[in-house]
């Protein structure tokens, strides 16, 4: 218990409550417990640790609902964990019956723990309410524990389900996080020095980062942090200078936090003409077909739209392009646009088809018609505008000519 409290600063209240609820092994526990709170607050870790230390192996089953995608698996694995034997279990009824048999072997409480419990709704609409009635139904000393990020009000889909006991994990306070981060201090480092480093990092990242992200960025940044000092350019005590040196790296880490750049990957692997094909598909997905003639035909200067009508069209376009996402377009149209924007050489039709297939398997495109229908095929481009901008920059293609042309009018 003390060990746990020490390992998880700021969580003593929650740990105490849990231990109180569980009580002596043969005492009854709450029928169900609903543990919720934001990500990276130690919900799963604390439960895992608590059961590892305090309970015999066959008294609990810990299941992460992300791992199981079939109901049978979920049942069979949990029965296996509880009894140590293999069971065949196809439906909830069998699960309940087998569970009853297992629980009859002793008075001690059995725990069924479901991590990421909001995914249970994907299995069936009644599974959650069925699970919640299990302890009452079997009459056994059973405790259902759900761990999730979703608050109870949003978790229950309808009113009238049995309400579990709630345990809320609040956000860590600033001092809690710093205390946790200090635990990552390398052995040969001065704690005070390290703690001023993590405090600084926390203040920069706290708004957009959770604990897990912090753990990820800290080792790299720490190396950068002590680098000038190792090179003996800056003294250890000159914090302001050290932090100044660190700042560009922090910016970079913040930028790369949730995005990985794939453009270079695409650029290096593909021939130039297929980059044009990507652009063509992007244009086809974002520009309404009615504007094709105006934008891509060579004599488009001669075309005379009434100004009013064009404006209306482009307003609609602007809304579409920005907010409703890419539209599907037929393959013929993509290829026509491709041929209009790429005129360096003639690419065989079959190569274009092959390339389109590749893009679909890369998930850069989505096929919106069934695969079997080869005669009419439609695609949608999934690339974001930023990627396309980067790609067109690398091949000196002025994509804004087409898009700006439309949005400025």
């Amino acid at each position: 218990m003390n060990e746990l409290v020490e390992e998880f600063p700021g969580r003593s209240r929650q740990i105490e409550t849990l231990i109180n609820w569980f009580g002596e092994p043969t005492e009854k526990t709450p029928h169900s417990i609903f543990i919720h709170g934001n990500r990276a607050l130690g919900k799963t870790e604390i439960i895992k640790k608590l059961f590892e230390i305090g309970f015999p192996k066959h008294n609990y089953s810990f299941l992460n609902c992300k791992i199981y995608f079939q109901l049978d698996d979920l049942f069979e694995v949990s029965l296996n964990l509880l009894s140590g034997k293999k069971h065949k279990c196809k439906n909830f009824d069998e699960f309940a019956t087998t569970l009853q048999d297992i629980c009859e072997t002793s008075d001690e409480t059995r725990y069924l723990i479901f991590d990421n419990a909001e995914l249970l709704w994907n299995f069936s609409q009644t599974l959650v309410s069925a699970l919640l009635t299990l302890p009452q139904w079997t009459g056994a000393n059973l405790c259902i524990i759900f761990i999730t990020q979703v608050p109870w009000e949003k978790f229950r889909r309808y009113v009238g389900m049995i309400e579990p006991f709630q345990l809320y994990f609040p956000e860590y306070s600033r001092s809690d996080v710093i205390q946790i981060l200090e635990k990552t201090c390398p052995k040969d480092e001065d704690v005070e020095f390290y703690s001023s480093f993590v405090t600084y990092i926390y203040d920069v990242f706290s708004d957009s980062c959770d604990l897990i992200d912090l753990f990820r960025v800290i080792p790299d940044l720490y190396i950068k942090f002590i680098q000038p000092q190792n090179e003996e350019r800056v003294s250890r005590n000159d914090y302001s200078l050290l932090f100044n040196e660190l700042n560009p790296h922090v910016e970079l880490a913040l930028d790369n936090l949730y995005s990985q750049n794939i453009t270079s990957l695409i650029e290096n692997q593909l021939p130039t003409w297929s980059l044009y094909l990507l652009i063509a598909a992007f244009l086809a997905s974002y520009i309404p077909q009615s504007l094709d003639k105006h934008l891509f035909s060579k004599e488009h200067e001669k075309q005379k739209h009434s100004r009013k009508r064009r404006k209306k069209e482009f307003n609609a376009l602007k809304f579409n392009e920005q907010f409703t996402g890419p539209q599907t377009s037929e393959m013929e149209r993509i290829i026509a646009i491709f041929q209009s924007i790429y005129q360096d050489s003639i690419i065989p039709y079959i190569l274009l088809l092959q390339q389109l297939e590749t893009f679909v398997s890369y998930h850069l495109f989505t096929r919106t018609t069934p695969v079997e229908r080869k005669d009419v095929q439609s695609f949608r481009c999934n690339l974001s505008f930023n990627y396309i901008k980067q790609i067109s920059k690398s091949i000196n293609f002025d994509i804004l000519r087409y898009l700006d042309d439309s949005s400025t009018m």
Binding site: W137, K154, G160, E163
Partner: protein
Amino acid sequence: MTNKKHAWSEESIAKARKALKERLSGHAIPKTLVGLQKKCKELYELLNRTVAYGESNTCMLIGPSGCGKTTLVNKVLQELSEKYDDDFCTVYLNGLYQTNDTIARKQLTRQLGIQIRQNQTDLEVFDLFKSGNNATKPIIIIIYNFDEFVKNCTKPFVYNFFNITMIPENCPMALIGITRKLSIFTDLPSNILSRNSYSHINVERPYTIEVFTQLAKSVLTIDNSITNDKKYCEMFNKKVQELFENKSFKNIIEKIFNNATDIIRTFQKICFEPVGKMNMKHPFLILDDFTEAVVQQDVKIDKILQELHEPQLWILLAIHSLGGRDCNTFNFAMVYNEYTNYIKSYIKESGSKFKQKLIKEHLLRAEFEFLEQRAIIRKADGKDLPKDFRMMRLTILHEQIVDVVSNNNSLPSLMKQWIS
């Protein structure tokens, strides 16, 4: 130390704790059903007729969750088995568990098989019923979540169930359906309804606070059957009595009665922790523990919203602003556009001196996804679009966003200006 201090034996405390926990977790059958005595008698007489005289019956128990339907049935069955011992069989079915005919039939024969003939578990169940006669053991079938059961099982199957109870030569059978749905009779097909004897018992939740208080008190009171330590019992009950006379405890009770849907379970939830804390040092229930438990159990969505990070609040504000223009579904592209427009216009107005750092797109997108993970926003349709364009809708009210932002003083004034 006052001389009032008495060394209570650890054993009696542990026994009391265990018994109370059993009650609070809903496993124990209470001695008296406060407020339900009349219904209890009604149901008892009905089932008694089946068991004693072989009369077949159907009956529906209808009532909101937590009003004591299950306890009522359990109590009556307990009384019956005390009186008749093994002279009848009980079968429990649950609409949530037996989700089709085959499973239901299997479960039915399994439970009967154990009770009637050990080795004939796979017999066709209705033949089994029909093979019985007046002399066979009466069967009481209890179906929880009856509405689900009717929905999941085929109509002929349900019809047969009712039909059997109509034919006097068959073995005597009572069918008790338990449901929360008031509309159960209108939902049933008419050919099934015609087989139903239309009897139903409406179970209501306690409607006066006096009844509820009495009920709550009965949950916490202990007697000699739990521990032989008479002095401890007396003292314990006295302390409980004191608790119920205390003003702030009365407030707790009142609050539960007025606000909770499932009042009894809510009360149980609050009691669990104080009971768990009983030990040698604190042999009795303490008021402070109750008030603390109330605070802990009462986690409302507003509290969660208050703990959101600043970028997430920006997203919610942008959504709120979109909602003001009748855009009730939104996607990330729209939200980000709304957000940047606001910040840019602010910078323009306030002059170049003020520089509000614009949150980068990918960071905000991550926060947007986290909001979805916490179910504060939800997908509006099943269309498979790139994630920036997936339409979402809010699961909370716009007023809640306004409340959270305007009540938090640590947020930048820029945020507050957006909602005013």
